[in-house]
């Protein structure tokens, strides 16, 4: 019985079996932006905003397909997941969702609220939220946040690697200071810092990691609570720009793995092969 490549637990490859793992991507001679995401809208791609929630009905965000919140409850403070009816308590998640929507207007947006209910115990809630998002099999998870607690680093690392091999792309905000925080430092995620260009589709590959890409993060008009907008700067907003671009590429090439997607981003970055 022949298994499909995706189902094959490929610990080794028998002689002459190369055809069984042929890759379903028709790579062009040169990967251009037009090939990568020309005319793409993000349709069919599921993006999860792991943040402070998303305001329902914000004109910059439009319809969202689902929202959950993570809380600690009971005596043992177990983290539970509930349907989110409160929307966004501080505005950060709405801002991120609005940017993804701007770049990938037809993608499906989901909100997982892990921030906003106080700062205490935020580590376990963040982990539970990310675990949930990875289990849901989202195509892209936007994480405009990080933790500095080393006790969570190992579990986050594990989750980031699980996501990577399950074809879920984690796009995470880097620090613009030499700070040890996670998960952006892991190589299985796509880490994002800011550049100062005004074009939302301009992004750069950074040949000096750990920050791997720079996207628009300065003077960005972001969605603001109450239906309005405001000007803001920060890697928090560079990250959803790259999440949006990932959604565009995946809507045109859904078969790409995170490894291949990162290559496409590299090849189409403005300082590599992308349009200047």
């Amino acid at each position: 019985m022949t298994q499909e490549p995706a189902d094959l637990p490929a610990w080794s490859l028998p002689a002459g079996a190369g055809e069984r793992i042929s890759i379903g991507v028709d790579w062009p001679e040169r990967v251009t932006r037009d090939w990568a995401f020309g005319d793409a809208t993000g349709k069919g791609v599921r993006v999860c905003i792991l943040d402070s929630g998303v305001e329902r009905g914000h004109p910059r965000v439009g319809e969202i397909q689902g929202a959950v919140a993570f809380n600690r409850s009971g005596e043992d403070e177990e983290v539970e997941v509930v349907e989110d009816t409160e929307g966004d308590l501080c505005g950060h998640g709405t801002a991120c969702a609005g940017i993804v929507r701007q770049l990938a207007p037809e993608c499906s947006l989901f909100s997982a609220r892990v921030l906003g209910a106080g700062f205490k115990g935020s580590g376990p809630i963040l982990l539970a939220g990310l675990r949930w998002a990875v289990d849901q099999g989202f195509d892209v998870i936007n994480m405009s946040l990080s933790t500095t607690k080393r006790q969570f680093a190992e579990l986050l690392h594990e989750l980031a690697d699980i996501a990577y091999f399950r074809r879920t792309v984690l796009v995470a905000s880097a620090h613009n200071m030499p700070v040890e925080s996670y998960p952006w430092r892991f190589s299985s995620v796509i880490s994002v810092g800011s550049h100062e260009e005004p074009d939302p589709m301009t992004f750069f590959y950074n040949p000096s990691p750990p920050v791997e890409f720079f996207a628009r993060g300065v003077g960005v008009e972001i969605a603001w609570l109450g239906g309005g907008t405001i000007l803001s700067t920060g890697n928090s907003f560079a990250t959803p720009h790259l999440s949006g671009i990932c959604a565009l590429v995946l809507s045109k090439h859904p078969e790409l793995t995170p490894f291949q997607l990162k290559n496409v981003l590299y090849l189409t970055a403005n300082n590599v092969g992308g349009e200047k």
């Binding site: 501080c90 921030l115 700062f119 405009s144 613009n176 000007l231 700067t233 920060g234």
Partner: protein, 212 residues
């Protein structure tokens, strides 16, 4: 009382005031460098999950120290929970933000820069700079400069918290320990001659206590 405790006591008593002055000087310099209307440091109080005004320069100085608000609200809250620096402009266009801010701080900024104060694994608080003149678009170089101030403020805040924790330990030990700690602090500050004399006296006192 062990030598170690005496050493801690000598460091704790009196140093709290110095660290407060250091924090104050950091917000003063931050305000001057950015030519801003105000600058403040918030301490994250883990017990109550609040952010507390710890140092303020410019607008609100002298009035806001000690005021607190829940750690998950406001832009300082965003910065604390996401661990990400942030700049927000055109704040005065938002009526809800204006009202809430004016009620808590007495003035409405047009824009602000906020950066988390991270020290080792902990997020200790937030540094804010309010209303820098908007002559030119905000630059990433300014963000980097703010990050450097944040590093200084984080170290000062860490020292301040340690000094407070040491003082609490001493207070919990009761008046005896406190009296000894004060003695250790005075001894530490004394001129060499006086110090020598005090140590001789202490030695004699020790002998007397042993004999009786």
């Amino acid at each position: 009382m062990s030598d170690l405790r005496a050493a801690v006591a000598a460091g704790a008593l009196g140093s709290e005031e110095s660290y407060r002055e250091l924090l104050q000087s950091i917000v003063e310099v931050a305000r001057s460098i950015f030519d801003a209307r105000a600058s403040s440091v918030f301490l994250f109080d883990e017990e109550s999950d609040d952010l507390v005004f710890e140092a303020v320069a410019g607008e609100g100085a002298g009035e806001l120290i000690g005021q607190r608000f829940p750690s998950s609200t406001g832009i300082a809250g965003w910065v604390l929970v996401t661990r990400q620096p942030l700049v927000v402009e055109e704040l005065d266009k938002d009526p809800r933000f204006s009202r809430e801010t004016a009620e808590s701080t007495g003035f409405v900024p047009k824009g602000l820069m906020a950066v988390p104060l991270l020290h080792e694994e902990r997020a200790l608080g937030v540094l804010e700079v309010l209303d820098r003149p908007q002559k030119a678009a905000f630059s990433l170089a300014e963000m980097e400069l703010l990050g450097k101030f944040a590093n200084e403020a984080a170290i000062a805040l860490d020292l301040l918290q340690k000094a407070r924790a040491a003082r609490t330990v001493l207070e919990d030990e009761g008046a005896d320990a406190d009296a000894l700690a004060r003695f250790a602090a005075r001894l530490d500050e004394a001129e060499p001659e006086k110090r020598e004399a005090a140590l001789q006296l202490l030695d004699a006192l020790g002998k007397l206590l042993r004999e009786s």
